[in-house]
């Protein structure tokens, strides 16, 4: 017969498994962006001119203001996370909607920005690096907006509660990450070519 023991437990609120999983995935995603940024800078360092081939540095008139829209969209996400813990379903829905619309606005601006570009990714390595770096981030925003739609659907169906809102937690982490990465991608892709 084996002996049994009563173990001391701890009932502090604890981070769920999903939090840990998403945090680790974000670490690896962040590494992808870091290495891609390093590649961009490597190409620049080994190139005589930058941007290459007489391409003008990126135009900031749309990108700059809408960057602030993207960064700002983290604020309603924070509000949604706070509100769900207090079971304020109305605030959750409104905040998610606002954040998603801000993300959409950023995407629309990016689409316009890309449409106005006068070079392609095939032209030279600068073009390739610009499209890939900004494109990878844009893809993340697209995924984020899609995830926002799913979480909103859950919110409107009343499937989120103060006890159970893992998808909201996981999505909020992801969205903050997408915004934070832009703090690095934007200066590299849009600002650095202006500085010679």
């Amino acid at each position: 017969m084996t002996t049994a023991t009563l173990v001391r437990t701890d009932n502090r609120s604890t981070r769920p498994a999903a939090w840990w999983g998403v945090a680790t995935l974000i670490a690896t995603e962040a590494t992808i962006f870091a290495i891609l940024i390093a590649s961009y800078l490597f190409l620049r360092a080994s190139s005589g001119t930058w941007p290459q081939g007489g391409i003008a540095p990126p135009d900031l008139t749309i990108a700059l203001p809408f960057s602030f829209v993207l960064w700002g969209s983290s604020v309603p996400m924070l509000a949604a996370e706070r509100a769900i813990r207090r079971d304020r379903q109305g605030v959750v829905r409104a905040a998610l909607l606002l954040s998603g619309l801000m993300g959409l606005a950023f995407l629309a601006a990016t689409a316009k920005d890309f449409a106005d570009l006068r070079f392609g990714w095939r032209d030279n390595a600068y073009g390739s690096a610009f499209y890939t770096l900004v494109g990878l981030h844009t893809a993340h925003v697209v995924v984020g907006v899609a995830m926002n739609a799913v979480v909103q659907l859950k919110a409107w169906l009343g499937k989120l509660s103060p006890e159970r809102h893992l998808t909201l937690t996981a999505f909020a982490m992801y969205w903050h990450f997408v915004d934070a990465v832009w703090l690095f991608v934007f200066p590299v892709a849009y600002l650095s070519p202006h500085w010679r």
């Binding site: 023991t5 173990v7 437990t9 701890d10 670490a27 095939r122 390595a125 159970r164 893992l166």
Partner: protein, 636 residues
């Protein structure tokens, strides 16, 4: 010492909570870490055999000068596939497979943190293996080396789908490695049994933790190397095209920023296995536990600062190269710490020469030689002499074949009894070991000499006037015996399934928790969760203690109730106090479907049909949605 096994519970209630559906449905939907782990191991060994046979064909070609068994093109394809399959589809996944099986058992948990992600990771591995294996069957194998250096792999010089199989396959399988690593990290931090604080964690678990962190930070680099290469090849970007302002050295940097850590991603779990087996078969605690754990973490860190030593011949600034040369030499220090800890353990213990121990001792000899040649090639002037010669081939086979495959074979003999409930034959095991060990050294040692005589790598033949005939013939003959030696172990495994002696719960009188439950492991691992009071729970005086269910929610899954309700404890990372419980998700087909959808994306990219990869993306989105929807039901 105690070999008490997990206390019995109402067997019917427990098995009905954990058993998978029968037949093919259960096969596709299981989320059991043990089933997935064993499957990982078997699948990886299929790739081992294929890649090994490719190597034997290459050796047959090189057995005599001016041989015409293979032409240069076929030879290029063979060495590319050999390296690619061995690194990406054997070494990495087989170690992940052992980790999947062993980590939850060793830390006293009933499953991994993300069982469905675990299943997903396996299916991605299989499908990516089939993806790249299709190149073999279709005859369009990649031929740019397992490293796929540009400019040769640029679309201008290497048209056709061959290299696309490689580039896409590598990105594809990276998904599997990455999500597997996420699972290991979270499982190890948050699911250790009460009392198993970090300084009581088995060294093998330490090694898998380091493995997880290294994968998280290294795999993005190969994803980008292969990914940007594929953008160049499929979409016409100019990253690696010097005529378009691109840079070929960027590719090498990206590749080796993953490539060198990858060597240690493979080596570190192997050292974890060796540390476990050497201590058990020396009948004593591992000497210098803290030193070994620190050395593993140290190797993990330093390995990210040595990648340029693969690029000494590319002509970089002397200052930069000196830094990487120094870092490469420094890594010998933690490696030396590991080595001396193993020697000290054996020296002061009573060594029993079982088959797993023989493989460990073989490993020590081979690793010593591989380590010494590693220090040699870390020194730039020496490296310049032997770059791209057989000396390098000899060196990395000593470390990647000898110092990783030998521990894996030892681990098969050591842990198979836990997985199947049957012992392997010691007699056949000894034969397998000695044939492998002797043949290994006769195969790979002469390659050092050939390399120093100037024989280049990756040549399909050589001239008789160069005087390399005899050594090459010897190498080729011995390589056949090496293959035979590995075959003996496969025969042994097949034989033991039917005729092997039944394994007891703890056949080796070992110290770690996987031996505190029956062999083969029951579906639920542990009826009650063990309470750990030392680094060697089964070597403590007195019986192992088992936790009881407590009344508050945090302790609900500790006792037999946890096994009945398909839950497992969730504990605080540092002091392992139960904080809650994790519901182990029911069997589900979503991970398999999501992996298939991602497979469709890669297939579409390969055949360059946006309709197909678009469809794959849509299917992936639907499955992702299904997965997210289910997540809420499985909340803590």
């Amino acid at each position: 010492m105690s070999a008490e096994i997990t206390p019995p519970a109402d067997p019917h209630a427990v098995s009905s909570a954990w058993e998978d559906p029968a037949g093919i449905v259960g096969f596709l939907t299981s989320v059991d870490h043990k089933r997935i782990g064993v499957r990982y191991i078997y699948t990886a060994f299929v790739f081992f055999v294929i890649a090994g046979l490719l190597a034997l064909v290459m050796r047959a070609q090189l057995a005599e000068p001016k041989n015409h068994l293979l032409g240069p093109g076929a030879y290029n394809q063979l060495f590319t596939m050999h390296g690619t399959l061995m690194i990406f589809f054997f070494n990495t996944p087989v170690l992940a497979g052992f980790g999947n099986y062993l980590v939850p058992l060793m830390i006293g948990s009933r499953d991994m943190a993300f069982p469905r992600l675990n299943a997903f990771s396996y299916w991605i591995f299989v499908l990516s293996g089939l993806f790249i294996g299709a190149s073999l069957v279709s005859g369009h194998m990649p031929d740019g080396g397992w490293f796929a250096y540009v400019p040769y792999t640029n679309p201008t010089f290497n048209p056709g789908v061959g290299m696309d199989f490689w580039g896409l396959g590598v990105v594809f399988t990276g998904i599997s490695t990455t999500v597997g690593a996420v699972n290991f990290i979270v499982t190890i931090f948050k699911m250790r049994a009460p009392g198993m604080t970090l300084n009581r964690m088995p060294i093998y678990v330490w090694s898998m933790l380091v493995f997880g962190f290294m994968v998280i930070f290294a795999v993005p680099a190969i994803t980008l190397a292969a990914g940007l290469l594929e953008l160049d090849r499929l979409f016409g970007t100019r990253f690696f095209d010097p005529t378009g302002g691109g840079n070929v050295l960027l590719y090498q940097h990206l590749f080796w920023f993953w490539g060198h850590p990858e060597v240690y991603i493979l080596f570190i779990p192997a050292t974890g296995m060796v540390s476990t087996m050497i201590a058990v078969f020396s009948r004593r605690k591992l000497a210098g536990y803290l030193w070994v754990a620190t050395a593993l973490v140290g190797v993990g860190f330093i390995s990210f600062g040595v990648w340029v030593h693969h690029m000494f011949a590319t002509g970089m600034p002397a200052m930069a190269m000196s830094f990487f040369s120094a870092a490469s030499l420094i890594i010998a220090i933690p490696s030396g710490v590991l080595f001396f800890a193993w020697i000290a353990t054996m020296w002061s213990g009573r060594v029993t020469f079982t088959t797993p121990m023989l493989f460990c001792i073989g490993f020590l000899v081979i690793f010593l030689l591989g380590g010494v040649t590693g220090v040699m090639v870390a020194v730039m002037p020496f490296d310049w002499q032997v770059t791209d010669t057989y000396f390098v081939v000899a060196h990395f086979h000593y470390v990647l074949n000898g110092a990783v495959v030998f521990p894996i074979f030892g681990a098969l003999y050591y842990w198979m009894p836990k997985m199947t409930g049957r012992m392997l034959s010691e007699r056949l095991g000894r034969w397998s070991f000695w044939v492998m060990f002797v043949a290994f050294n006769i195969t790979f040692f002469p390659m050092h000499l050939l390399g120093m005589e100037g024989m280049p790598r990756r040549v399909y033949t050589y001239d008789p006037s160069l005087g390399w005939d005899h050594l090459n013939l010897l190498v080729s003959a011995a390589s056949g015996f090496f293959g035979l030696g590995t075959g003996l172990t496969f025969v042994n495994i097949a034989w033991s399934r039917f005729r092997g002696a039944p394994a007891t719960a703890d056949p080796w009188a070992a110290d770690t928790l996987e031996w505190a439950t029956a062999s083969p492991t029951p579906h639920h691992n542990f009826t009650a969760i063990p309470v750990v009071a030392s680094r060697h729970p089964l070597w403590d005086k007195g019986a192992l203690t088992w936790a009881e269910t407590t009344d508050d929610p945090a302790g609900r899954s500790l006792g037999p109730d946890g096994a009945r309700t398909r839950t497992t404890p969730w504990t605080s990372g540092a002091d392992t106090r139960p904080e809650g419980h994790l519901r182990v998700p029911l069997d589900t087909v979503v991970p398999f479907l999501l992996a298939c959808a991602i497979g469709v994306v890669f297939l579409g990219l390969l055949v360059d049909r946006s309709v197909i990869w678009g469809l794959g993306l849509a299917l992936a989105a639907v499955n992702g949605l299904l997965w997210a929807w289910r997540t809420e039901l499985d909340a803590v």
